[in-house]
Symmetry: C2
Subunit: 455 residues, 2 copies
């Protein structure tokens, strides 16, 4: 069976469907609320950047099982025909409250809340956790690079290095939201309306009799958008060849955009390249660097004063190499109007529908977040609510914002984050506290749960 | 523009297309050969398991740019109309030689070789590297767990933890090839024809008045395939509740399949659970464990004698946490009949079309691999060629083998791998040597390239 024939509704863990049948057979079909939050941050992460909501809303709005999905379920031999009929008519009819894409998030606060009939909310868990985890993780890795690059350009070169094609698409989008200038991934650029960037590969240089021939041919094809890769044979002589061809282009009224270094000591080689270009009066030809870079090596190059105007990043961005997974969980916090907790070791959750507020200090910086019950009043005048209603009765409340709006939101958020949380090896943890009312509800719900356990 | 409207041919780096235009305009359109190989293995990896070929062959066979793709390219404003017309008719017409899925691979040997007109081979690079990297990485992570589990069952629970949906699908397939019994991912199970597995979530237990009520309801819905999650409140009392409900089920002639531990000290709790189940005459109810497991913790539990019959693994499998990326590269090794190398620091490749041979020692174990030129004779009677022709003139040579054939191949390979390479913290590196003829060709091609560089 081809993957594309089965719908996203079937992208779920089997237990979501078996639990749904047991709920349905036992008439446990009341209204539930589930919280999505991030439990323990990995080392070197004081913030994450929330992205991925648009895909969640599209998924929920389109949620349905089609005939082929139902046949596949029937073939498992464990589902009741009446239940499959029920599934064939099932749509998502609930409510979603969420942070906006581009918002900074911290540990143990709700970032997205889904309410509705328990079966609908439960079936959506797998897709929601998968996509928010992925996109938020990649946006965060990219944001760290943007911070390290201190204004130098960043381009996503990771299409071949992400975990699959879905991840590559989402990386291009997420990295744009946090400030990348574009992506090498043509399908992503076209899908999301962001800039496509590219240079040339070593194979291109090797396919011509000489390096200079390859540069000349490429410069003729792309007279205003050429970047020459200068390290196929020897970087210094590669730069000299680039200078020669750039001068030929200049005589025809054209401009070489950049040279790219992809191996060796990037600090030293960038100085050599910059020197040779400047000497030849090619001060506007940028030096780009790539090859195994991440936020740590970018920061080191920037601090050492490497004359590099932009970075192309691949492998370590595409895999979020130093923190390749997250601990987002999606937990039942209310059912049939009653708050719910899970007690077992270290995995307790906060009961009830909630709101997270971000307090702003006198300098306009983020002071701390306060998690409260949904309808508590504003904790202080200088605080902003983080969860907004984005879906009601299964319909998105508004058009999706465009990526540039998210990009501005991220920038506005990041400017207000105190510097200590931006350090690449941050060991500061941002304060997230609970309101008294939430603390009381948590205590009383835990007491009730303990009584339940002991009966 | 919706992602699904654009074809996989557009899932490529921009430079593949700009290079293609420069090739086309300069009439550089000869036959090329590209090698895919894995440069530097990360720590704790002595072998990888090759998977992902089926997707590559499907992609190449279906390769074409459709109208929407061409419009997207045209909108970039850098492509010549004649070149776009050329692209509209382009198909992959070349040859592929490859390892079979399930084969063990080692560093610096060719695993897949693509030959054909240079533009066709070049455009396919991004997708090929992305998919082989992903699937091979995940198969390898899963194989390490299978080895650590020493015959205990393993189930892929990672659908919510992989980097996106594509990765989740490929993980289910790859982990099955190396010996997992199944996956929780329903779409993957249906797509690939493998077993779907599932238990229940904490939310299910919380949604009923008592834990016992939730177990009873689930057991009634799934009288022969229930696993009860016993750690929502307190694990020991959870097991006692499971025992009670299992006894009720027994009286109706049904059987509880398993209990699942998802938190706490899994060694101690598994002993407690096993003890309580055995005491109650429920010796055939399995104890399953999950919760942040990987091959290291599985090995520790197995060595400590934990009475655990199976493991569900998620986060650390789905992200290949200790080695979340690979260094597969796809390099031009021959063009217009001539061997090609790239000289720059540490990135030299082996020129020409090649064959990799696996030598078998007197005990039937893998001794070493020898990389040779394609048409050199067998190095010794006890050696097996690893690359097979799987596509000719753009058509796959045969039906795809089924997953069980790949699974058997993997098992046959793994049995013949000497034990020292299977250690989880392996610091042994398997020998891959070059034939004399290949060494000579490499030397002479490098000499030619150096002369080219200095001109």
């Amino acid at each position: 069976m081809s993957r594309s024939e089965l719908s996203d509704a079937l992208f779920t863990d089997l237990y979501q469907l078996t639990m749904a049948q047991a709920y349905w057979q036992n008439d446990v079909t009341g209204e539930a609320t589930f919280d999505l939050y991030f439990r323990n941050f990995p080392p070197n992460r004081a913030y994450y950047v929330f992205t991925g909501l648009e895909d969640i809303l599209d998924y929920l709005q389109d949620f349905s099982f089609r005939d082929l999905d139902l046949s596949a379920l029937d073939a498992l031999g464990i589902f009741d025909q009446g239940f499959l009929d029920f599934l064939s008519k099932l749509r998502f009819t609930g409510r979603v409250r969420s942070m906006s894409e581009g918002t900074l998030l911290f540990a143990d606060e709700p970032v997205l809340e889904v309410s509705g009939p328990i079966i609908e909310c439960q079936l959506a868990e797998t897709f929601i956790v998968n996509q928010i985890s992925l996109q938020t993780m990649l946006a965060t890795k990219a944001a760290r690079m943007v911070h390290a690059a201190q204004g130098r350009l960043l381009v996503d070169f990771a299409a071949r290095r992400t975990h699959g094609t879905d991840s590559a698409m989402k990386l291009a989008r997420s990295s744009y939201i946090v400030g990348f200038v574009g992506t090498s991934n043509v399908r992503a650029a076209a899908t999301y309306g962001i800039q496509a960037h590219g240079t040339m590969a070593h194979s291109f240089v090797s396919a011509f009799p000489t390096e200079a021939d390859s540069f000349r041919a490429y410069g003729q094809s792309f007279p205003e958008s050429s970047t020459f890769l200068v390290d196929t044979y020897d970087t210094e002589s590669g730069v000299r060849n680039a200078v020669d061809i750039a001068n030929e282009m200049k005589q025809r009224g054209h401009t070489l955009r950049a040279v790219r270094l992809d191996s060796g000591d990037l600090l030293e080689l960038s100085k050599v390249a910059r020197g040779l270009l400047d000497e030849a009066g090619l001060g506007d030809v940028m030096v780009l660097a790539s090859g195994g870079l991440d936020e740590y090596s970018i920061e080191a190059l920037v601090k050492a004063g490497a004359p590099i105007g932009g970075f192309g990043v691949g492998t370590r961005l595409g895999s979020s190499a130093d923190a390749p997974n997250t601990e987002f969980v999606y937990k039942l916090v209310a059912f049939e109007g009653k708050p719910v907790v899970k007690l077992s070791s270290q995995k307790a959750n906060l009961p009830g529908a909630k709101q997270a507020w971000r307090e702003i200090d006198d300098d306009g910086l983020f002071r701390r977040d306060i998690v409260m019950l949904e309808h508590e009043p504003t904790p202080s005048p200088a605080s902003e609510p983080l969860l907004h209603k984005v879906m009601q009765n299964g319909k998105a409340s508004a058009q999706h914002p465009d990526l540039d709006e998210m990009r501005q939101r991220f920038q506005g958020q990041f400017e207000r984050l105190p510097e200590r949380f931006k350090e690449l090896e941050a060991n500061h943890s941002y304060d997230v506290i609970m309101s008294e009312a939430l603390q009381e509800l948590t205590d009383s719900t835990q007491r009730t749960a303990r009584r339940q356990e002991s009966t």
